[in-house]
Every structure is written in structure tokens, then in C-alpha cells.
């Protein structure tokens, strides 16, 4: 019995043993931090150029296995409206750093027709370099599990109906966005 007792006692953990185990477990836990696996984007703008950042980031995040959502609000709500990819326009006015193929004077960028021209230029550039179109990017997002959430308050204010949106859209308010985003490391307002 003395031997049996001795064996048991050598297993007895001291406070410093416990602290060592805890630090080890906590380090592991931080590596598995659930907030590091979630990204909650807000898409607030509706011109062609500003449509790309949320869709490209979301599709890249989903491809990396992250839980990904885009909350479409304000002008960004347009991105998930039926027929948007065909109608979307770049706005060359107010984008002085837009790397236009040809330098243009300010008066020129505000001329009628310039928006259509800039849109065609950007669409051509993205296509040429193998970047998906807006319509294709939306499909990639949906297919890879990105949650597309329409802001219900903006819908009410601007009178947009559920039937105006593409398939697969969810509906929520700012409170629902916050309750998810507060568990995510990456939160971006685009």
C-alpha cells in the first residue's frame, strides 16, 4: 500500500503545474479563437467600382474557410437588386485618383456620357485580367456560402421590396449585424 500511495502522490498537481497547463490551453484557445474565423462586411456604396471590394473580399474569405457575411445597406443595397450587374455605373466625378487610361480634365469627367464611358473602361479592364464580373462575383459568393443580408431599415426608407432582390438574400436590421460582428475580428465598412 505504501508504494501504491507514493504513486498516487507523484500525480498530485501543484499550483505551478496547473498554471503551466492553463497557459498551454489558453494559447491553443486563442489560436482557435472563433472571432478569427468570422468576417462581417458592410457594403454601403452602389457604383460599379465600389461594388468590387466587398464581393472580392467576401469570396476570398469564404474560399479560406471563414464564416462570411455582407450586410448591404444604404446605396449598397443596389448591389443585390435584380438586374443590377447590367445597370451599374462607375462615377468618374469625385474620384480624382481613378487611374483612367487617359488623363481627363475635371470638366470632361462631369460631361454627360462620361459615366457610361468609365463603366465600359472598368468592365473591359476587369474582364481582360480574368477578374469575374459583378454578376459572376455575386454567384461565387452565394455558391461558397457567403450570407447576403439586406438592411431592412434602408429597404423601408427607400421603398425597396423583397421581390426587388435576387434569390438567396436574407433580411435583418443593424442590431442583427452588430450581434454577429461583435464576435468577428474582421469588420469593414466599405
Amino acid at each position: 500500500m505504501a508504494l501504491e500511495l507514493a504513486e498516487t502522490l507523484t500525480e498530485t498537481l501543484t499550483e505551478s503545474d496547473v498554471r503551466r497547463i492553463v497557459r498551454d490551453e489558453v494559447t491553443q484557445a486563442f489560436k482557435k479563437d472563433p472571432a478569427a474565423k468570422r468576417i462581417c462586411l458592410i457594403a454601403s456604396k452602389g457604383s460599379l467600382d465600389w461594388t468590387y471590394p466587398p464581393l472580392i473580399l467576401a469570396s476570398a474569405a469564404a474560399a479560406a474557410g471563414m464564416e462570411t457575411s455582407i450586410f448591404f445597406t444604404f446605396y449598397g443595397l443596389n448591389i443585390i437588386r435584380k438586374g443590377f450587374p447590367e445597370k451599374v455605373k462607375v462615377s468618374p466625378v469625385g474620384n480624382p485618383a481613378m487611374p483612367m487610361p487617359l488623363p481627363m480634365a475635371d470638366t470632361f469627367t462631369s460631361l454627360p456620357g462620361m459615366k457610361a464611358f468609365a463603366t465600359a473602361q472598368m468592365k473591359a479592364k476587369f474582364k481582360k485580367y480574368g477578374v469575374a464580373s459583378v454578376g459572376e462575383l455575386i454567384n461565387v459568393c452565394r455558391d461558397s456560402g457567403v450570407r447576403l443580408i439586406a438592411c431592412t431599415m434602408t429597404m423601408e426608407v427607400f421603398g425597396i421590396k423583397k421581390s426587388d432582390f435576387i434569390d438567396g438574400v436574407e433580411y435583418a436590421g443593424a442590431g442583427a449585424y452588430l450581434s454577429e460582428a461583435r464576435r468577428a475580428h474582421i469588420t469593414l465598412f466599405i
Copy 2:
């Protein structure tokens, strides 16, 4: 004595007991993660439309019990200036996706008077659908404990004095913003 000893030994924790307890505690700790209770917004724009997102998100966060602050910097500093809610304007130029009640040509949106027209339209829409006005939203934020922080560097650069601001505003620099935001999961630049 043998019985007494045996009782004590059954209470002795092994390393695997300790790891079980630790995982349990760590899971609880992540649920209570203080960073999940804090939201640090930056409001950088000063036109009527871009005034709504920080104020609406902040009031929703405060209503959900989060520690909420808005750091007003750059053009956003205007939002907390005295008399701002009466003077604020929407800028229809450069917002091609602004869901205007009537479609308008680009030349039309840059005509004098269009800014006043767009502002009236937006104010009317928000009012019609029960959304608070900018002045009301600022009051809701202050009353619910949202900290309104003016960027001291922008104040210096643009020559804005403390007496230009509404009551209840705090003053801080970018460093102070960062030291709070690095303890918050939700950080948005609006």
C-alpha cells in the same frame, strides 16, 4: 485513517481533470470577451447621407448594451458642430447609385440647387418612415451613453474651436482612439 486518506485521494485532480476544467473556463471567458462588448466607430464624412450610418449604428449598439464611441474626424467633425443638423446637405454628385425618386441625368445632378433638392428628398424619406432626424439621432446617442469624441488634430488643422461643438463632446487624438479600439471587435471607418 485508511478510509480518510482514500477519501482525500479521490479528490486529487489529474492533469486531464485540469485540462477539462480549463477548456470549460476558457470557453466561458471567450463568451464574456470584453472586446465583444465594445464598438469604436470613426465618422469621417460630413454630408447628410453619410451622417446616418455612424449615428444609427452607434445608437443600435448602445441600445444593445455595448460600450460605444464615435471618433469624429476629418469632414465628420462637422456632424457634432452646433447647427449642423439644420445646415447638412446631401451631395447627389458622385453618388450614381443614390436611389433617387426620379432618374436624373448626370448634368442635372450637378446643377445648382440639386444639393438642396436631394437633401429635402432624403429628409422627407427618413421622416416618412419613422427614422429620427440627424439632430434627434445625436440626442439619442448622447442620452444612451455613446461617447462623442472630436479629433483634436482635425480641429487644429481646420481651425475649429471647442465652442463650435454641441454639449457633451470629448476631445482626443488618434492615439487615444487606437488604445480603445484595440480592445474592441467592431471597429469601422465610415
Copy 3:
């Protein structure tokens, strides 16, 4: 032997001892949370005014000892192009809240020459109040260890070559940005 045994047994930890130690360690661990030491900014705009926020925030974060990076994408890629600080322009159109020294009508802000005028005004104001110029801020960032990362996808789409950039720039895609940002509390899309 009975005395020796008694001593050992008094050191035996109970489950509640272990939980106390764990809570203590976890509280310490959250204070040392590595995500609280990292900031991952995205700079997406290229006009003079929107150049300041990412550079000022990054230099302030680096000064506070944080691991800091800026991912330059879209129009923001211009900021790290050779010769940018000399060529950068403010865009007064679409910034209705830009605190101009003199109130100006909308038609006036869209006149040719206004962009140069607004740029000169802003440069003068920043200089007058001791804020570094864009070129100086970029140097401060590089010298203090801020990582300047160019978005390779934008480079391809807009045909920008590595030789177009200033020294010390790194190159990465959206996926690389996400894998760092998901370990950072402060992530801002500017």
C-alpha cells in the same frame, strides 16, 4: 511519515482552486491578447484628403508599438506610386462638408481649376499646423516599421508595375490580407 503525508495533502488542489487559477490566467491572457497589438488598414482611395487617414492612423499605431500594415488597393494604390505626393489632388466635388475657408456654390466647386485650388488650400493648412506632408508621412511609416503592401490584383487590372512603386513596398493579394487581419482587433477600410 504521517506528517510528511499530511503536508503533501494540504497542497492538493481542489476543482475550485483550479478554477480560481484558470480565471486569473485567462484574465492575464486577454490583457496580452495578440490581436490587441495588431492593426490592419486598407487604403482604397487616392485623393489627397483620403490619403491622410490611413497614413496618420498607421504612424500613430506604430508609435504606440503596434504591428501595423496598410494594404493599398483600388485607387489607394496610387499613394505608394513614385511621385504621388507631388501629383495628388483633393477633389472638392462630392465633399459638401469639406470645411473650405470660403463657402462656395456647387457650380463653383466643379469649375476647372478648383481641384488645384482645394489641393493648395489643404496642403497649406496641414503645413501651417505642423502636420507632416504626404511624402513625409510615408517616410515616417516606413521608418517606424509599418508594412506597406500593394494589392497584386489591382496592379494587374490597372497595369501597374513593381517599378512604379516607391522602395520598401511588399506585394500580396486579398487572401494574404485576410489571413493577417483575422488576427487583429483593428481592421479599417479607408
